[in-house]
């Protein structure tokens, strides 16, 4: 009797372990998983020097800018990367003059206005947004240091002639930027949220828009 109970317990324990193992990948694929938090602007108030505070705030915001959801489409070449490991896009895509792919193989050949779920594949979804396209060549971020990205972001020659106020609006309200926090199943989201990023960018501007070295 004791032996049977033990056996049943063992079976139950194995079944439970199996269930946990089976569920683990599902939770891992949940949308907006694992991004963690962004520091609030108030957490930088202990830095007395405004210039240093500004640099620190941008460094925190750069955790979003350098996240794969953002930087995959700010590549060093005119071909996007994809995935958490930022491998070259499959199939090979080039931006072409439009930044939306060559005529005949546009981004929209596969990417719709919304994320598209995929059934029965390790690839859980095809990401999508109505404005899906590569960032302009002047906004290539891959391979740059955080300081170099910062100087690009505020350089009106390279940032689409955006004022500091435009930058706050772009980071805080642009629909394609906002997609990063709703990347579809199978992709992680950057830390924080779009309003939290906008608050950091606003605080960075307010403290003089200084760039890390």
């Amino acid at each position: 009797m004791t032996k049977r109970t033990l056996t049943l317990s063992l079976v139950a324990a194995l079944a439970a372990a199996g269930l946990v193992a089976a569920l683990a990948p599902i939770t891992g694929y949940a949308e907006t998983s694992g991004g963690g938090a962004l520091k609030a602007v108030s957490e930088f108030s202990s830095i007395a020097d405004a210039k240093e505070r500004s640099k620190a705030i941008f460094a925190e915001a750069s955790r979003v800018l350098t996240h794969p959801r953002c930087i995959n489409c700010h590549p060093a070449t005119r071909s996007p990367t994809q995935g958490e490991d930022m491998h070259p896009h499959v199939p090979l895509m080039i931006a072409a003059d439009s930044s939306m792919g060559p005529a005949g193989l546009a981004c929209s050949s596969c990417h719709g206005a919304e994320n598209r779920g995929i059934v029965g594949s390790r690839l859980k979804s095809i990401p999508g947004n109505a404005h899906w396209q590569l960032a302009p060549e002047s906004m290539a971020w891959q391979g740059l240091t955080v300081g170099e990205i910062c100087r690009q972001v505020k350089d009106t020659e390279r940032n689409g002639n955006r004022s500091h106020a435009d930058l706050v609006k772009h980071m805080g309200e642009d629909h394609l930027v906002g997609w990063a926090w709703h990347p579809g199943e199978g992709r992680s989201a950057p830390p924080g949220s779009q309003p939290e990023l906008a608050a950091l960018i606003a605080a960075w501007v307010h403290t003089g828009a200084e760039c890390p070295d």
């Binding site: 199939p91 005949g104 594949s121």
Partner: protein, 151 residues
């Protein structure tokens, strides 16, 4: 959900879920089986059709996105000037080996020529990179596109 699809100029009333891929509706509901299923995740190009003249991967295009638009499949691409030239060039050069990917290849090639009548090698490679051929007929595909571009 009922949808009225316009495929190759004909109207088809179908009753399917809005998020079902267009490919399934074309093949299983309407019965146009010239468009092929390859990978199901938009990585191989076998399922390429045209929606309002744009090449799209029908395996990841929800049918709701194609409703009320002009859908063209391999069965009717020969009715367009580019499609006709591409198909003739395919025969002249004898491009096909096993043939499975070729309907997608022809649809992409026709879309390329419609947008870019005189494509360079780089233009051809950039667009046709989205269509995989396991037989490796790529050199003949490129030659046939160049032949078709000559008119």
């Amino acid at each position: 959900m009922p949808y009225n699809l316009t495929v190759n100029g004909k109207n088809y009333a179908v009753d399917v879920d809005g998020d079902i891929p267009l490919l399934w509706v074309l093949r299983d509901t309407i019965g146009l089986t010239g468009t092929k299923f390859g990978c199901g995740i938009a990585m191989c190009g076998a399922c390429t059709v045209h929606v309002d003249g744009q090449a799209v991967r029908s395996c990841v295009t929800p049918v709701v996105d194609a409703a009320a638009k002009q859908i063209t499949t391999i069965e009717a691409i020969g009715d367009t000037p580019e499609g006709k030239r591409v198909q003739q060039a395919w025969l002249d050069i004898d491009v096909v080996q096993c043939g499975y990917c070729q309907s997608g290849q022809i649809m992409s090639a026709a879309a390329l020529l419609a947008a870019n009548p005189k494509p360079s090698d780089d233009d051809i490679d950039a667009v046709m990179a989205g269509n995989i051929c396991r037989c490796g007929t790529y050199p003949r595909i490129r030659a046939a596109i160049k032949l078709a571009a000559q008119g």
